[in-house]
Structure formats: C-alpha cells, structure tokens
C-alpha cells in the first residue's frame, strides 16, 4: 500500500518534471516538422501573400524536377564519399592512437582543433587555400592552375575535403572508445596462440569494433545527408549547381525564391531520405541480432 502510493506520486512528479522539456520540444521541433508536411501541400509565396491548398501539386512537380534529382545525387555522392573517407582515416587514426604513440596527449588535443572550429569558419579558411593560385598548400601539391571552387567536378571534392578535415577527428575519437573497450585478455590470448599482428587486427580488433563502427557510420551519414554549411559557404551550390545539395536547394527555394510550398516539399523529401537511412540501419541491426 505504502509502496503503491510512492510509485503513484513518483509518476506524478515525473510528469511535472518532464512537462517543460516535452512541451518545448513539441512546440519547436515536432510541430514545425508536421507543419512542414502540411505546408508542402500548399502553394505559399510570402511576398505575394498567396497561400492555397494544392494537394500533391508540389510533389507532382518534384518528380519531374531535374534539379531535385541532381541535388539528391550530389547529396548522396557527398555523403558516401565523405563518410567513407572519414571512417577509413578515422579508423587508421584511432588504431594509431591506441597503439600508444609518442606525444599522445598533444595529439589528442590537436585533433580536437578541426572539430572545435565552426564549420563556416573552416569552410572560409579552406576557401582561401582553394583560391590561392600562385603559391600555397594546394599549389605545392601540384594543383596549381585549378580553380577548385569554380570548376565543376572539383568544387564538390573541395567540399568533401573540408568535411573530412573537420570530422575525421570526431570519428577517430568515437572509434577509439570502441577499441579501448576490447578486453585486453583477448589480445593476450591471441598473443599466446602466436597470432600475427595483421591476423589479430583482422580477426579480433575489426570484428569487435564493428558495432561502434556501424553506429558511427550511421551518425555520420545522417549528419552528412543534411549538409548545408560547408557547401553554402564554399560555393552556394555552384558552379552550375554541381554542388547543390538537398538542404541548399530547399533553402534557396524558400529564402531566395520565396516559394515556401515547394521548399517545404523539398525539405520533406530530405526528411524522408534521412528516415530511410535510419530505418535501414535499424533493419540491419535487427537482422544482425537474429543471425
């Protein structure tokens, strides 16, 4: 009886303590997302004070919009390439850090530098390197006469390079916690069995770090898919829209063209893609568990 009453009051207290957070999140995150879906069924142009329900008209336009499919392709390309590079480099860096290199503390502090610099600032910093035509880092590497940000094909890779520079440390730190979590006894056993270092890496380290690896990949992919800052600051989607990602296209449609209806339809599509990515991960995780 006493216990039942405590549980009852605990529940009431929990409701009181959680109410502010839940209400605020509902108001600023949940409601706008649902409203976005609602707006995507409208023709809504602010400057003309025009708002009317048009059903699926925006989506009918979207499935025939080459610029949308271009943006979808650029976003996917950016995501796949940057996340792959970050995972490969990050894993290498994590393995190196785990091996107990010299100046370990200095290294750990230094690799947080790119992560701590605001994305806009790092994009601007790199823009300076990309536009230096006479001397400078890239010229030294033999890329002297290429206008990186103005040449289709190069500009997207410039954006990927900046993203990789900024995010690899974060990936490495996440993977490092996975590596540190592997019980030393397993390594001892492998050493006693006379396993070579390469064999230990492929048979023990990599399989055991895989769960962390996959979560990291998911987090990065979800993040990379909504990329806005890097691309907007470096190129604003140019040259000739070759770096325009979904977020950039949606932003321009809303804030430059003032078309909130179609812009909302574009952002809903971005949202659906992110949902698919997450759902794909959870389906994979379940399949992996039942195997």
């Amino acid at each position: 009886m006493q216990r039942a009453r405590t549980e009852h009051t605990e529940k009431a207290w929990a409701a009181i303590m959680m109410a502010p957070a839940v209400l605020v999140l509902a108001a600023v995150a949940l409601y706008p997302t649902l409203a976005s879906i609602w707006l995507s069924f409208h023709r809504l142009i602010l400057v003309f004070h025009e708002q009317r329900f048009v059903g699926f008209e925006n989506y009918a336009f979207l499935v025939k919009d080459a610029r949308f499919f271009g943006a979808l392709g650029h976003t996917a390309y950016f995501t796949v390439l940057s996340v792959t590079a970050e995972l490969v480099l990050g894993l290498g860096l994590a393995l190196f850090l785990q091996a107990g290199p010299p100046a370990r503390t200095l290294l750990r502090a230094a690799i947080l530098v790119p992560w701590a610099i605001p994305t806009v600032v790092s994009a601007r910093m790199w823009a300076w390197f990309f536009t230096q035509q006479g001397d400078g880092l890239l010229a030294a590497l033999g890329a002297r006469d290429i206008a990186w940000l103005g040449t289709p094909g190069y500009a997207m890779h410039a954006a990927i390079l900046v993203d990789v520079w900024k995010t690899t440390p974060f990936v490495a730190l996440l993977l490092l916690t996975g590596l540190v979590g592997i019980p030393p006894a397993i390594y001892d056993a492998a050493a006693i069995d006379g396993a070579s270092r390469l064999r230990t890496l492929f048979r023990i380290t990599l399989p055991l770090v895989r769960p962390v690896f996959v979560v990291t990949a998911l987090l990065r992919a979800l993040d990379a898919f909504r990329v806005f800052d890097v691309v907007y600051v470096l190129t604003e989607g140019g040259p000739a829209n070759t770096t325009e990602t979904l977020s950039v296209y949606a932003y321009k449609t809303m804030m430059r063209a003032g078309d909130f209806g179609y812009g909302s339809a574009l952002s809903v599509m971005t949202f659906i893609c992110v949902l698919f990515l997450a759902a794909g991960y959870f389906a994979w995780a379940r399949w992996e568990e039942n195997r």
Binding site: M17, I111, V113, W128, L174, F228, A250, F271
Partner: protein, 268 residues
C-alpha cells in the same frame, strides 16, 4: 626505426589538424599588400584585426554568438536536467519511449523545420531577434542535453536517491540537493558541448536574422565580402577571433568533451 615512423605520423597528423588554422593566423597578421606579392615577407600588422572589429562590427557578432549560445545552454540545461533526472531516477513506465523520441527529434534535418519556424517567428514578431535564435536552437540542443544528462544522472547510485526520498525529499528536492551536485562534472561537460554546438550553428541564424546588428559569428563570416575583392586578410583575422576561443575551450576541457561526445554516441 619504428619510433621514427611513429614520430613521422605524429608530425603529419599534427600538421593536418592544426596547419590550416596556423596558416590562417599567419595570413591574418600580414598587411594586405604583402598577401598578393610577397615583397616583404617579415612585415606584419594588426590592421586586419582592426578592420574586422571596427569596419565590420565583428565584436558585436561575437557578443551575439556568446549571448545566444549562453542562453541556449542555460535554458536547455535547466529544463533538460529536470526531465533527465526524472528519466534516470524516478519510477515510471515508458522511459525508453521518451528518450527514443528525443533522439529521433535530434535526427530531424534542420531544413525540415526552417519554413514553419520562420512563419511562427514572423507571426510572433521575433524575426531578426536573438530570441528567435535561442528558440530555434532548442530543437537540437534540448535533445542533446536530455540524452547526455540522463546518462550522467544514471551514474548516481539509486541508493542515494532512495535515501534522499526516505529522508523526506520530494523528487524535485532530490534533483536539486542530490542530482545536480553529484552530476556536476557531467553537467559541465554537457554545457560545454551544447555551447559549442550552438555557437557553431549557421542555417537558423542565416534564415532568422537579417540586420548586421543581429548576426552571429558564423553568419557574419559567411557574409564577409566586399563588392570588389574578397578581403582575405580580414576574413582570416575574423576566423581566428571566432575560432580561437572555441579551440582553447576544446583543448582545456579535452577530456570532458571526449567523454560527453562518446557517451552520446557509442554507449547504446
């Protein structure tokens, strides 16, 4: 031999991570004329810093950024720690659902909330105010705070919470007298992380502000251009001023940040 290879790798990683910022510092200290030509390699001046601060009101943007990030952090830690304490310590059902919901919200792409938030902010008359930014930053900062703080509160032994309850504390008093003091290091880590994320935000700040007086640092730097030629020296000076405080915070609180980052991502 092995040692030499290791040092080589260390040097490469250090150059890769800190080189761009370092070269930006150098660029910012060169007088503008030396940038193109390079006649006087050792000339340096603070003219670019003066230009960025006086000519372009970067100081105002820095203050805006700090105010917005600070207010976001306080707000999210306040209401976030209340809810997180309930999720970590109180007995009720459906906790996983609430946490999962917050996590799902944190994965919403910002662009998906921009258009309705813009309309709401316009209707409330908050367009081009710092309040609008705090309001919109909550969308990503509150789920992050909730998630991290719940984990840190869980590390407090249940027995301590039960003892406080037996001694007559209400859950709210337990949050204040037990939860906050015992989880103080975790709360500090969360605060640093939330502050950094809010300071870095760009899309909302670009959309919801229009006048130069309301710009945050990322927006100010992204719009830093004159009509004739890119003022690279001043951009570099502004970048250094925007980045160095955060870099110092990151280095000083390195351990806390790494703990919080990895808590948030890996433990599930």
């Amino acid at each position: 031999m092995r040692r030499a290879l290791q040092w080589c790798t260390v040097a490469m990683v250090l150059a890769f991570a800190t080189g761009p910022l370092f070269s930006q510092v150098v660029t910012s200290l060169r007088p503008d004329r030396a940038l193109g030509g390079g006649e006087t390699p050792f000339a340096w001046s603070l003219a670019n810093y003066r230009g960025a601060l006086e000519g372009r009101a970067l100081g105002r943007s820095l203050l805006n950024s700090i105010a917005v990030a600070g207010a976001t952090t306080m707000l999210c830690l306040g209401i976030g720690s209340l809810a997180a304490f309930a999720l970590a310590k109180l007995r009720f059902r459906g906790k996983g659902l609430w946490l999962g919901g917050a996590l799902a919200i944190s994965m919403f792409p910002a662009i998906a909330t921009v258009s309705p938030l813009y309309l709401v902010i316009r209707a409330l008359g908050l367009r081009d105010t710092l309040g609008a930014l705090v309001l919109s930053y909550v969308t990503f900062a509150l789920p992050l705070s909730l998630f991290l703080l719940t984990r840190f509160f869980r590390e407090i032994p249940d027995a301590i919470y039960e003892a406080a309850r037996v001694d007559g504390c209400t859950p709210l008093q337990a949050w204040w007298h037990v939860g906050l003091p015992l989880a103080a290091p975790g709360i500090a880590s969360t605060a640093i992380l939330v502050f950094i994320f809010a300071y870095n935000e760009f899309l909302y700040a670009l959309t919801f502000t229009s006048s130069p007086e309301m710009r945050t640092v990322p927006v100010a730097i992204s719009l830093f251009a004159s009509n004739r030629v890119e003022p690279w020296g001043e951009i570099a000076a502004a970048s250094v001023m925007a980045a160095v405080p955060l870099v110092l915070v990151a280095i000083v609180f390195q351990r806390r940040i790494v703990t919080a980052l990895t808590q948030g991502a890996v433990k599930d």
